[in-house]
Amino acid sequence: MEQVDLTFVRDCISQTGREKHKVLRILQALQTNYGYLPQPALELVCELTEITPADIMGVSTFYNQFRHKPAGKYMISVCVGTACHIKGAERVYDAFKRHLGISGDNDTDDQGLFTVEKVTCNDTDDQGLFTVERIACIGCCTLAPAVKIDEITYGHVAVDTVSTVVNDFLRHAETKAAHRKKQKTKDSEKPPVGEIRISLDSCCISRGCGKLHQATLQALDQTGIRATVKRVGCVGMCYQTPLLEIVLPDGKSHLYARVEPRDARSIILRHFTVQGIGRKILSTVSHTLDSILTDESDQPITRYAIDVRDQPVADFFDRQKQIATEHCAVIEPVSLDEYTERGGFEALKKCVNQMSPKEVIEQVERSGLRGRGGAGFPTGFKWTTVRQADCEKKYLICNGDEGDPGAFMDRMLMESCPYRIIEGVAIAAYAVGAAECYFYIRAEYPLAMEQMKQAIDKCYENGYIGDKPDQFKANGFSLNLKIAAGAGAFVCGEETALMASIEGRRGMPRLRPPYPAQSGLWGKPTLINNAETYALVPWILRNSGDEFAKLGTEKSKGTKVFALAGKVARGALIEVPMGITIRQIVEDIGGGIDGGKRFKAVQIGGPSGGCVPAELTDISVDYESLIAAGAIMGSGGLVVLDETDCMVDIARYFLEFTQDQSCGKCTFCRIGTKRMLDILERLCHGKGKKGDIEQLLELAEMVKKGSLCGLGKTAPNPVISTIKYFRDEYEAHIEGRCPVGKCKELIEYSVTDDCVGCTLCAQHCPVDAIGMLPYQKHEIDNEKCIRCGTCRNVCPEDAIKVE
């Protein structure tokens, strides 16, 4: 038995408590402390608490977050979300393993008949420095492919930049301690001369906003300019980050896009005057430089300066309508003052002080608001049911377990406008008569968890929530908010599974009815809504339900936030009125397809949704039209596909995801999705046979009808919709062809006569499948070739052929 210091276990339990439902929190603490879950520690937990061995093993093996074996010092998590997948995440994953000398994870015997259990995890390098794993979507879709090493996220990682990333990380790890010390903010005595806004949500940080933030502080320090540097929430223009906005006292705003840290100083000097004599001298030199830089003809700055008057930016914003994301890019996410200055908590005060719960619900009903988590259930109706439930104790849950690969709306909302969600939750709590609320936030969103936590703390401090909080002393309104951290299980987005998870059980859905509104968390009536739904509520109460209902279509009211990613020119987070067409989103807001390729389809709704082909994208974005087209609104992931994307591969990708995330309870989902995946894998490996498409469709229908929960019932959608619109591609795979040249086993790389012998391909090939032949036509050894596509990307002559 391994030797483990168990003092931590005792300390941990004395803090968390001994109840059964604390199991997830205890496991998370153990994992953070030990890096994995040592068995002696787990056994001790069982001794000291009400948790049984069966509980702790069942729970700890259910969630992806937990490891039962030690991991390397650093964890490399390759995001395999949709956007990352279509941009080559699997190849990046392979490249990391290759780079670190970790052998493959092949665990199946030659005949493919039997699976040998993974006794040894082939995921850690020999030195125990790095562990490589796949991770469910981390919501940085506009940076695809994204890779997280510990807390640092790298965007746009390619097969041939893997070594650079690893080296950069190691350099960073060395200087990490030094960096930490530097972070302190100085308060200025004098009034600020203006405001510099930098967006610091998690995807922006990984695109260099953190460094830009540092550089800005440094520049201000050197120049003595007393401008306030403010971290703000997501601006939505992910394709333009790092963004830096300068707001002058007169309210004029200047927006700079794709700013490098070294440019921070010049941009600041352009708008602010240097204070103090000593610094003036210093700035003379800089000023000269500055004047050069501000010259109209000068590239470095003008290239970055963008303006809402510019057509692309106008297109980007004009079609949008910000309700859930209101003020996101303007206010500091966890600043309560800034939120209240812009009307924050007015809606809550109005509700609690002037309206009866019934009147509140009436407004929500009039607004026509439907759940933004995916199914589109009428929100007002849900609230009424919980309100009418005859029970003293009721619960509220905010579902922030946004697990759809390719979706990051909830992450952005929680990171950028935590108070709006809290206000929405508080209004709902008042309306249904609940005094306790859980925010269930997925493990992959550490920043969201942190921002929510800070915001909740401030709300307690300032008397917005708590037991009879100061702001509502007279009204007997009480509300306590808690955060429950998910642990990596997509199925926990399903409401009954989510509640099981909060109760400290495996996240297994159960049969409904009873619905949570009747019998939910710990058997009590429970209102559960998605984070985005709650974020819309304050606006509705401030502006009236009728005002909200003016937006959108007859049955789908208001706005919807979408995460626009994939092969689109402007990957972004957008909020649009319902009823806009998919084409408008892709072409006007998204700027069309990146790189001049042909627009093929849009995947909407993630693993529960479907692919809408380009020809049909003139349909309106509303719940009913999307379902009719074979997709669903889902939580709002919108991944654009171009002509190089293989639809069979896309279907396989989603099935692999849902199959992997199935809780394993009911036969149709557990085995049915697996058998569907088996067929799709056969197809992608060129081993398809006649009748496969028919069997896929037949299984799809069974899984849809017979599965217990939404995960299984919708899992076949990506398959059904791709067969419906792209059946010819399936047929081609049965014949052993992948028409777009994506499926590795069905393609071969070769060099055409256009080759000029530049040797770039040979230099970049990660497996030495191309010999170095200067000034001659190169050749690819298809035995060695791993079809990673690097040669094709680096070839300046477009001389690599794939067929």
């Binding site: 787990l42 056994e43 069966a54 093993m57 049969l511 809780c663 149709f668 069974m702």
Partner: protein, 522 residues
């Protein structure tokens, strides 16, 4: 009270009752696997799905609470298709043999693994019952059978097959030698008469099995002595006269009449058809022209007969053995006799003549070399006992040693595994969906039960039972999704996991994943 209809029949139930409760009241049988009274419904197997009118999806009857005015369909094609699909999906991830390869390989489908367990335990009286259920002449066959069972024995993939044929002979010889050799119980006479033409293995077997079903049987043969090819074609060194006479004698002792030296011609045949309720033709190899003379339709090999029901073109006339197949395989002829007896019984009793239904069988197939070890747990690794010198058969000690070499591939719940029962009744095909399957594992360390994860359908009844009884370790789900499995926490053994509830769990288990070791007597 709430009103609902199931398959258009009205019923009233209490508030809170499930559709399954309502169906039970109506006497409508809904198959269930993961459901057990007094346990929380786990809604896992989905074999109990029904259709509720007005909804698109199907719901599990075991957990769906009745709403007033519900209209439920439990037998419509959609429901039946879904149930079959659920079963077929479960089977596609079910790593277990219902019957051992030997039993499938045996033409008479004798329950070989059970016989071997009985021999190993020294229960020879029980072993002969097992043998004679399917093989009327085991001592004889024990000497002349080419033993197709041994060719498919899984032990071949480890070293060498088990000497099944010798073990059978060992038990049969011991029985013949005893003061009171085994006589099967017979139903009281039903007044029906069957004529059997030919006293070879097929005819004798048919008589043996028909008599047990209450029929009066007369065997006609043109030879003086019964036995057919056993008597006249096989050397006495191989098959001693005393064994032959004694074992055949047991058939007549049971009550079968023998009329030797009676050659049946065309007219005589018609007479038999008139005087008896059915005729079984087991005359051995016969030329097609000779068949025609009896008015029987010929085939290339002799008489044309249905290969399941043994019916010929003439109503009430059945044919089997070498008269139909000309295989020169005594065990096949014996099996024909047994199977024809079943069909003849159906015919005479006025039932639909279907023959013995082929039992549903799930198969593991070839075992990966690295999984053999699992199979070999608790199995003797000794070399095969195969005495070649003389004709002494196995001595007691040898028999026990050899019996210890059996890997017991068969399922311990062949008759009460719900998966098998429903697979049979729904016509589910085990190979419908193929792909990755569970690994084979066997845990044999518990005194009362055996645990084979490959057969588990992940319903979790055992987990519930163990948790309720507050077992210290109990059982839990490990992992999730397709790779989820039921295991003892902290890598404990099944003996450590189930200290008090082992037999309760085994009884609750819908398949043979958890099975009592002692449930061999059907």
């Amino acid at each position: 009270m709430l009103k609902l209809t199931i398959d258009n029949r009205d019923i009233e139930v209490q508030n809170g009752d499930t559709i399954l409760d309502a169906a039970e009241k109506l006497g409508i049988e809904i198959p269930t696997m993961c459901f057990l009274k007094d346990c929380d419904p786990s809604t896992s197997c989905m074999v109990c799905v029904v259709k509720v009118e007005g909804t698109n999806s199907l719901v599990p009857a075991c957990a769906t609470v009745v709403r007033d005015g519900m209209k439920v369909q439990s037998e419509c094609p959609e429901v039946r298709q879904a149930r079959t699909a659920a079963l077929e999906l479960l089977l596609s991830d079910h790593l277990g043999d219902c019957m051992g390869p030997c039993q499938i390989g045996c033409p008479a489908t004798m329950d070989i693994p059970l016989m071997i367990r009985q021999i190993k335990a020294g229960e020879l009286a029980e072993a002969i019952v097992t043998i004679k259920r399917d093989i009327a002449l085991p001592a004889i066959l024990g000497r002349i059978c080419p033993a197709p069972c041994q060719k498919v024995c899984r032990r071949n993939s480890f070293d060498d097959c088990v000497s099944i044929c010798l073990l059978k002979r060992y038990a049969a010889d011991a029985d013949l030698k005893s003061a009171n050799p085994y006589m099967p119980g017979c139903k009281s006479a039903n007044g029906k008469k069957i004529a059997i033409i030919g006293a070879g293995p097929a005819g004798l077997a048919a008589g043996y099995h028909l008599l047990q079903r209450g029929y009066a049987c007369t065997i006609f043969d043109d030879h003086e002595k019964p036995g057919g090819m056993l008597q006249y074609e096989i050397g006495r060194e191989e098959l001693p006269q005393d064994i032959l006479d004694k074992e055949i004698g047991m058939v007549f002792k049971l009550g079968v009449q023998f009329k030797g030296q009676s050659k049946i011609d065309g007219a005589g045949f018609d007479e038999l058809r008139r005087d008896f309720d059915a005729v079984f033709v087991a005359v051995g190899p016969i030329k097609p022209d000779d068949a025609k003379r009896f008015g029987l339709e010929p085939s290339q090999k002799g008489i044309a007969a249905d290969n399941k029901t043994y019916q010929t073109n003439l109503p009430g006339v059945f044919a089997g053995g070498d008269a139909v197949r000309n295989r020169k395989l005594a065990i096949r002829a014996l099996a024909d006799g047994k199977e024809a007896a079943f069909a003849i019984d159906q015919f005479v009793m006025g039932q639909e003549v279907t023959g013995i239904a082929k039992p549903f069988n799930s198969k593991i197939g070839k075992i990966a070399p690295d999984r053999i070890e699992d199979f070999m747990q608790g199995v003797s690794t000794e070399a095969r006992v195969d005495p070649t010198e003389g004709d002494s058969g196995l001595a007691d000690e040898q028999a026990r040693l050899e019996a210890g070499r059996c890997m017991h591939c068969d399922c311990r719940k062949p008759d009460d595994c719900k998966l098998r029962i429903y697979a049979q009744s729904h016509g589910a095909r085990a190979g419908r969906y193929s792909g990755e399957r569970k690994a084979f594992t066997r845990q044999d360390d518990h005194a009362e039960i055996i645990f084979e994860q490959g057969k588990c359908i992940d319903c979790g009844l055992c987990i519930q039972i163990a948790a309720r009884a507050k077992e210290t370790l109990g059982l839990t789900y490990i992992g999730r999704g397709f790779s989820v499995k039921v295991s003892v926490p902290f890598d404990g053994t099944i003996a450590e996991g189930l200290r008090d509830t082992a037999s309760q769990c085994a009884k609750a288990c819908p398949t043979g994943a958890l099975a009592l070791k002692q449930q061999d007597q059907p």
